[in-house]
């Protein structure tokens, strides 16, 4: 039997495979049928959980709060109910951190961003969510983003991820504000050919994000690997303090200074690091990535 692939698992099954067996307790579960009040007017079906599962469970024996987006329901998009469940779990993370009960919150993001049919509610919820992430961190919580789903992590979701204390990605994950299709729609295929999926992943994919230091860990596409990485990341708390913000600022400035004229992940690897490297081809291995990470000061830092 093949191992369970994170990419393929549903949100519910990702949580089940991530946490200690049978430890998960869902808040506002599907049986309560708290669904989107807005989709009906678009003649669209609702989901009993509005495409997000939130609750608490145990990871390696320790209490954690969890939210998992279902990338297959409307692209994991953030609507009013969906967004409120996410904000709720983040505010709970702040409360539990302040009370000293747990410092751990896991966000299994899998989203195209704000749900257009309830755009204003989704946009506002995304803004509430980023603030809630930061407030939870200020209270001492680690908020770990786990990315490797079908929908990627785009739009408001990408800003939520950027505010997290730790980011774990698989090579199937994509992280960016505007996706290739959106950029192509507004700026044309010359700017971003969305059909060229290899280019999409060289630009937004897990491997490139890891090399640039946009992610803290690149893991295999299995629930076991995500679990291990989440446990490891939780051991490196990153309180949101002034010095860290200043270090992040310097880090992002340095990235622009070094790579600001690049437009493709392959260019960064080829031109700046290894002229002969054929980044993004299929014989590029995890070892190659590790070798590059070791060479790239950008990729190892604590400035997030």
């Amino acid at each position: 039997m093949r191992r369970l692939s994170w990419f393929e698992l549903s949100a519910r099954n990702r949580i089940a495979a991530l946490l200690d067996a049978r430890s998960f307790e869902e808040f506002i579960g599907p049986e309560e049928v708290v669904t989107s009040p807005h989709l009906l007017q678009f003649d669209l079906p609702v989901a009993f959980d509005d495409g997000i599962v939130v609750g608490r469970g145990r990871l390696d024996g320790k209490l954690v709060l969890v939210a998992a987006q279902e990338g297959r329901f409307m692209g994991g998009s953030i609507g009013e109910v969906h967004g409120a469940k996410l904000v709720g779990i983040l505010r709970a993370a702040r409360a539990l951190a302040a009370a000293g009960r747990t410092q751990a919150c896991l966000l299994l993001l899998d989203t195209g961003g704000v749900r257009l049919q309830e755009a204003n509610a989704g946009e506002t919820a995304a803004a509430e969510a980023v603030r809630a992430v930061l407030d939870a961190r200020t209270a001492g919580a680690s908020v770990v983003a786990l990315l490797g789903g079908r929908a990627g992590c785009f739009g408001g979701g990408s800003l939520i991820a950027a505010c997290c204390s730790h980011i774990v990605m698989s090579e199937h994950a994509r992280l960016g504000v505007s996706g290739p299709e959106v950029i192509e729609t507004y700026k044309g295929a010359e700017e971003f050919d969305s059909q060229d999926r290899a280019l999409a992943w060289r630009t937004l994919g897990g491997m490139t994000r890891r090399l640039l230091g946009s992610a803290d860990a690149l893991v295999d596409d299995t629930a076991a690997a995500f679990r291990q990485a989440a446990i490891a990341q939780l051991q490196r708390p990153r309180p949101l303090e002034m010095a860290r913000l200043q270090a992040e600022h310097a880090r992002l400035r340095e990235r622009i200074r070094r790579f600001g004229d690049c437009r493709d992940g392959a260019e960064i690897v080829r031109r700046v690091l290894e002229p002969a490297a054929v980044y993004g081809l299929d014989n590029w291995s995890a070892q190659d990535t590790e070798r590059l990470i070791a060479k790239l000061p950008e990729s190892a830092h604590d400035a997030r």
């Binding site: 093949r2 090579e171 199937h172 999926r197 290899a198 992943w201 596409d221 299929d282 014989n283």
Partner: protein, 541 residues
């Protein structure tokens, strides 16, 4: 002066030796061609002589008109533009799926005089009898200045076309990706090639046989389990061909897992007439496959194939040597099973990929999916199928049967039922005045129908009524399925004519994606040791 000499003389101003500048190709074609010529533009469901197709479409219709196109594929827009522009008038072809909607419109508007829709092998056969082209426009990877051609892994139709044209006084014009001092291997000898032109872009090849395992559904896995346990195992199918589709891809990916657990390794699926399907990589790597002969190649599989010469047919230099005509023949005569999908099937098992708005042609499926009555060698699978088709008390001579399996979901895209009372192909034929409806596989060739509901064994049916009820019996919740006679269904089930998953001890709930030997393109790449290089459109990493 022979007709060829006259053509070559007219073309001389546009070439230096055999080499023609790309910009001069249209002028050369105008010089070589005469009105009414039979012309083959090479192209099938994979490779395309695309530059030459465009060059032909740019010809002046004053100079070049009323051509009779005799070619495997109507695939590129230019293949139909020549009809719109008055360059060509008549058409005999085989495969037209990518232009299916436009060709249907043009036939309705009588913009094309259609001869016949053929199978590949059938059209090749006619190249040697009554449809020999006067001029062939072909594609190869490289040429030397003498016209020797290297076709790379995508040899496909080229040798057949060239044989027919060059040996019967015609002219062969090749587009090549490069001109080199010495070609790596001679796929086509230079004395059969009259002109070569180097193009800026390599000739186009469609990755038609790549199925992303991520797209395989639980239903397709269930059907694959039914195929393996319900057909491959009992008949001991060693020599076979798979069609394109997610269902057959699922079978390929279940060989090293599910079929292995059933203890079938070595006793099924050892010898293939098949393109290098990426989804067969896990089975090959697990030692299931003895050898594979290919119609064509598959984009991204070149290095993998070259590294597995013990499995694939390769030439000097190590790359794949494919040959469509020979592989079609192999599929027809030397395989015991064909399995493929279709869009519509009627109650006698006739099937078609034609819809009201699309005419897809045939390609090779009707050859693969028919019982060759000229076959005389025997195998266990062939004899068993033959025996099942004869009534118990029959005094007829013993004969074998090829297993022709249709694997379909009872509903297709947009909830269109697969099972229908009357094929759209029949209506189209009436409307266009075609003498025979474009049926892909005739019902009397079909031996089994697999759906998510079970298997209908048509070999065991003894009357048209039984066939109908057996097909209804696996037609699920389609209108046709819901109208089945419950009593007849029970009787067929008791006789093993219809077998449901539970009759084969298969629990549909076991049909799980974790059973697939690879769940993604990435897994296939890994399984190939990095040798498989999928086209960008299939990547998600």
């Amino acid at each position: 002066m022979s007709s060829r000499d006259a053509r070559l003389a007219r073309a001389a101003p546009f070439s230096q030796g055999k080499v023609v500048a790309a910009a001069d190709v249209t002028a050369l074609l105008e010089a070589v061609l005469t009105p009414g010529d039979r012309v083959c533009v090479e192209g099938d469901n994979q490779k395309q002589a695309d530059y030459l197709a465009r060059a032909l479409a740019r010809c002046s219709s004053e100079k070049v008109h009323d051509l009779h196109m005799v070619q495997s594929g109507i695939v590129l827009p230019e293949h139909l533009d020549v009809f719109d522009r008055g360059i060509a008038a008549r058409l005999d072809c085989s495969y037209s799926a990518p232009q299916g909607a436009r060709i249907a419109r043009m036939l309705r508007a009588r913009h094309i005089q259609l001869g016949s829709l053929h199978t590949y092998l059938e059209l090749f056969a006619r190249y040697f009898i009554d449809l020999t082209p006067d001029v062939a426009l072909i594609a190869a990877v490289s040429a030397d200045s003498n016209g020797n051609l290297y076709t790379g892994p995508n040899t496909e139709d080229t040798p057949t076309i060239v044989e027919a044209v060059a040996c019967k006084g015609g002219v062969v014009i090749a587009q090549v990706n490069e001109i080199v001092p010495q070609v790596p291997r001679v796929d086509i000898p230079g004395d059969r090639v009259h002109f070569v032109t180097r193009t800026q872009q390599p000739f186009y090849v469609e990755p038609l046989f790549t199925r992303d395992p991520a797209g395989i559904t639980e239903t397709q896995i269930l059907m694959a389990m039914l195929a393996i346990k319900g057909i491959y195992a009992p008949y001991g199918v060693r020599r076979l061909n798979h069609g394109i589709g997610f269902d057959t891809a699922a079978i390929e990916l279940l060989l090293p897992t599910y079929a292995d657990a059933l203890g079938l390794k070595g006793s099924i699926c050892t010898h293939w007439a098949l393109n290098p399907h990426p989804t067969l990589i896990p089975a090959i790597e697990a030692g299931w496959v003895k050898q594979i002969h290919c119609f064509g190649s598959e984009v991204g599989m070149e290095d993998y194939v070259a590294a597995r010469p013990q499995i694939f047919f390769t030439g000097v230099g190590g790359t794949l040597r494919s040959n469509r005509a020979l592989c079609q023949t192999a599929g027809l005569y030397a395989c015991d099973l064909f399995i493929g999908s279709t869009l519509q099937m009627d109650l006698q098992g006739n099937s078609s990929t034609v819809t009201r708005t699309r005419i897809a042609g045939f390609g090779g499926a009707p050859n693969m999916g028919s019982d060759p009555r000229g076959r005389r060698h025997f195998s266990e699978a062939w004899l068993k199928a033959g025996a099942e088709s004869r009534p118990a008390q029959s005094t007829a001579l013993p004969r074998g049967r090829k297993l022709v399996v249709q694997i379909v979901e009872s509903f297709g895209e947009s909830m269109e039922p697969t099972f229908v009372e009357r094929l759209a192909a029949v209506e189209i034929a009436e409307e266009l005045g075609l003498p025979i409806p474009p049926v892909m596989i005739y019902g009397d060739d079909v031996t089994h129908v697999i759906t998510e509901n079970g298997i209908a064994n048509l070999l065991l049916c003894r009357s048209p009524e039984e066939r109908e009820q057996a097909i209804r019996g696996v037609a699920g919740y389609t209108e046709v399925g819901r109208q089945r006679d419950r009593r007849a269904f029970q009787q067929l089930r008791e006789r093993g004519v219809v077998r449901l998953p539970e009759d084969l001890d298969i629990d549909p709930l076991d049909a799980d994606r974790t059973m697939l030997a690879a769940g993604s393109i990435r897994d296939l790449v890994r399984g190939s040791g990095g040798l498989y290089r999928p086209p960008a459109r299939f990547r998600n990493y």
